[in-house]
Amino acid sequence: MSLEIEIGFTLNGRPVKVRVPPTMTAVSMLREKFDLTGGKLACGEGECGACTVKIDNRTINSCLMFAVDCDGREVQTIEGLGSVKGLEIMQQAFVEHGAIQCGYCMPGMIMQARYVVDQNAGNEHKVTRDDIARGLEGNVCRCSGYTKVVDAVAAVVLEEAST
């Protein structure tokens, strides 16, 4: 039998344990072991960002990360962003601005958008549309619907600055 490693980590706020092969990628573990299919395995090379998740407050391409390295960390996927009560503000903004075409890249795009805004929160420098575009440069939308994405993120920046 081939080698499997037991790891434990916090997944969307809950402690979990799982056994994984040592070379399994984090995206495959999330999809296959936990049925968290929001993050997509698309390019598998870190070029498209469709697999973006947050690990210990940093977003990464989960297609490049080894699942075993999740051990002891805090992992957040798109499924952990909202709650049963409703969508998180960034998700809601994407809905309201129609920032969706086929939707395939959206879970990764929203995770990265949330990270970009959080990273800049509290900075004196006001986040511009260019900052948003740069923050999302690792996320590809093959429907090429970027304008409304930036509109949605800019709206969240404004809304959160005023509260």
Binding site: T23, L64, E137
Partner: protein
């Protein structure tokens, strides 16, 4: 096939594990995963995850020397206040590196050990005469050897790193007063680009004369290249139009680019000339 998986928590523990041989080291995984998926690399029987070695993280200074732990991520370099203030060229290179998600995972040691001729962090570190610290397990304890980065790369994907050795840190001296450096990189898009050509140039300009000239160029040779002949051409000379023109000629002779999917050799040579002209203008402007 992988038979063993280890997660050492110190350099000593890692060095002992690596000394047993047949090991693949994993850190950020951003190069290793696509290379193994594509079949360009195969896993050894022992996978050693070095991500929990805390002593290999972080940026520090003491006695006029900077030390960057091998596991420091490109994002940590980009966000470092001390580097932004003292060594902005390193921060500029980090800012041109891949994408935010990759910068959050990719480590400095990984970028150097991957030894791509186009590796972005290699260029500014070559300008700084950086040395890499390599650890191994010899006769019951950790042995350290320092290698100048300029001698570290031996070919595409190849370094002087021996089996059982681990790149634990990069060190360089605080640059002399008046040191100024620039980094340029080209590619058809700003993000996630493997450089067509990248160039770093550093020098001290004093009383109109250039000293301590360093030129490093990416993606124009089998390894990141120090253009030492062109450095000598410029050393101790006044920076005027004649000097700049001879630097352009010299550097274009010094590079040996190839034709590939990203650009032709001719274009890379042309770009090298454009970049040195811009870099020297930048130095002159400071």
């Amino acid at each position: 096939m992988i038979e063993n998986y280890s997660v050492p928590s110190s350099v000593a523990e890692a060095a002992q594990l690596l000394q047993q041989g047949d090991a693949t080291i994993v850190a950020g995984g951003t190069d290793l995963t696509p290379q193994t998926e594509a079949g360009a690399r195969t896993f050894a029987s022992h996978l050693v995850n070095i991500q929990r070695i805390e002593e290999m993280r972080g940026i520090s200074t003491s006695d006029g020397r900077f030390r960057i732990g091998g596991l420091t991520t490109v994002t940590e370099i980009l966000e470092s206040k001390i580097l932004a203030e003292e060594i902005p060229v390193l921060v500029e290179a980090a800012d041109h590196f891949a994408s935010p998600q990759i910068r959050n995972a990719a480590t400095l040691a990984g970028n150097l050990c991957n030894a791509s001729p186009a590796g972005d962090m290699c260029i500014p570190l070559l300008l700084l005469d950086a040395e890499v610290e390599l650890a191994s397990w010899v006769d019951g304890s950790v042995a350290i050897r320092s290698v100048p980065l300029a001698e570290f790369f031996t070919g595409p994907g190849k370094t002087v790193l021996q089996a059982g050795e681990l790149l634990v840190a990069v060190e360089f001296r605080q640059p002399a007063k008046g040191f100024t450096a620039s980094f340029q990189k080209s590619g058809p898009r700003p993000a996630l680009e493997i450089s067509t050509v990248s160039m770093g140039l550093a020098a001290v300009l004093q009383d109109g004369l250039l000293t301590g000239v360093r030129i490093a160029i990416g993606a124009v040779a089998p390894t990141p290249l120090r253009a030492t002949a062109t450095e000598s051409t410029l050393e101790g000379r006044a920076l005027d139009e004649n000097m700049i023109s001879s630097a352009v000629q010299s550097v274009q002779q010094e590079v040996s680019p190839i034709d590939d999917v990203r650009a032709s050799a001719w274009y890379r040579k042309h770009l090298t000339g454009v970049y040195i002209r811009r870099a020297l203008s930048h130095v002159a402007g400071n």
